[in-house]
Symmetry: C2
Subunit: 254 residues, 2 copies
DNA sequence: GCATATGTCCGGTAATGCCGGATGGGGTAT
DNA sequence: ATACCCCATCCGGCATTACCGGACATATGC
């Protein structure tokens, strides 16, 4: 049809559309799904039946759910696994020290993925669950990662995903983004002032490998009223940076 | 071909074979994969390219990895989510009280899946990661679940998956299994004496819904030498049963 | 520079993914 | 009780495409 199709196996793409939609709907029947997907019922049913038989979905009297099998696949590739293992105890400490939420993010296909989070004693609830995918430019974590990428990579990512705004404070101009990235490179940490969620501020630092290429980022985030000028610009960045440094050292020497 | 195919979309099944093998190999190239799968290179490549383009896999200079996207899908259906949320703090307490490992399992497609685990202060390392799938009859958790299923369901499951042995103590005879299940129904809890891992014992209790149908099980497991006759048969079961009861109450009234 | 790996690409064809329509069951209101 | 509706499931056929053999470029090591 349209493009020369980098999708040589369209049925695979279709099957994942079904799974993804089923996940969003938190379970559904054939009719509901076929409407949401704008596909014939019978086609949807074909996929559901195959996936259920292969034990990736569960069928409870006509209502299908995403199965726990995907939990197993969620175990990451080894390299990421290492970052997860090294960083998890450190962000836990960070959350306890600061009282707020501490997060770990990696980049994949130009988007940010929350790999882990730790809830400090004073932390408020967030809409960030593990596995959540966000645009890099909307979070301090993502900007921290972008700041260590080459300009070509940044351009590629922006071209691919754009700079959609999620709050009125989100950066939507690429020049403004690049200026911020330069600033982040300078001082070593990134901030997010209600750019993804109104009422929330965030401070993040990149984690790099021995070649200075970014492999992820960590952050501390909390409500704007607790992140006043002094903590937001001094204490919190200091904690985040020192934790990032500990993680980098432990990544290379272990 | 062989069966009248409950797989109306074979390409979907194929794609998941590719993903699953890639996961087992912890990342691989096209050639290695095509050999492991006994499929033509070009076919494997078609799938890899599609899955990578759809952002489910990651390609690092020809080596493919399972992407973190599956983390997101690993978020369970709502009903299971509730059990997870209710049971997680309780098994954490259980692990702290007993000092050992505490686990949460559900059944899916006739197999047991570890939904969560909590490591007590004295716990030794285990090969059970979250998402791991095991045969029900090889664990106390699985037997606890089976004990609350009807005999027909037990027969179905055994017929489907068999009773493979993983240690010399694994139950391999269906009559013996059914006798144990009756005993478990009687006293309310199940035990596993080195039936899945030599050197490990385990005590488990089922979690049922308001209709007395099993929705999961919890357990405490530890090294044989610490699970002596008195704790193995009295104290531990008491703790496990009371925790299971708390979870059941919290599931129905909340 | 040769030999042998690798990952990637192309094009034809037999197989099958897709879809309209039919079937039967479960619920509900009349 | 009955008629109605919506549901998941099944069937059959056609156009599409998943699959595969083979060719190509590149990388590594002898």
């Amino acid at each position: 049809m349209a493009s020369k199709s980098r999708y040589p196996v369209q049925a695979a793409a279709t099957t994942f559309r079904v799974i993804e939609t089923l996940h969003q709907l938190n379970g559904a029947g054939v009719s509901e799904l076929s409407e949401a997907l704008e596909m014939p019922k019978s086609t949807v049913h074909d996929h559901l039946q195959t996936l259920t038989e292969a034990e990736y979905l569960v069928n409870e009297n006509g209502t299908y759910h995403v199965g726990a099998r995907f939990l197993e696949l969620g175990g990451f590739a080894r390299s990421q696994m290492k970052l997860y293992q090294v960083a998890s105890p450190e962000i836990k400490k960070l959350a306890e020290e600061t009282g707020e939420h501490a997060n770990l993010m990696i980049e994949e296909h130009g988007k940010g993925i929350f790999l882990n989070k730790s809830k400090g004693p004073d932390a408020v609830n967030l809409d960030t669950h593990i596995g959540k995918r966000v645009h890099l430019h909307t979070t301090a974590l993502g900007k921290a990662i972008l700041s260590r990428e080459s300009e070509e990579v940044v351009d590629e990512i922006v071209e691919r995903h754009g700079l959609p705004s999620v709050t009125e404070k989100t950066i939507t101009d690429i020049e403004e983004l690049k200026q911020q990235l330069a600033k982040i490179r300078d001082r070593g940490y990134a901030i997010d002032d209600e750019e993804r969620v109104i009422g929330m501020r965030c401070v993040a630092a990149p984690i790099c490998d021995e070649n200075e290429r970014p492999i992820g980022a960590i952050s501390v985030s909390g409500p704007t009223n607790r992140f006043d000028e002094s903590t937001f610009n001094a204490e919190i960045p200091k904690s985040v940076l020192s934790t990032a440094n500990v993680i980098e050292v432990n990544m290379t020497y272990s």
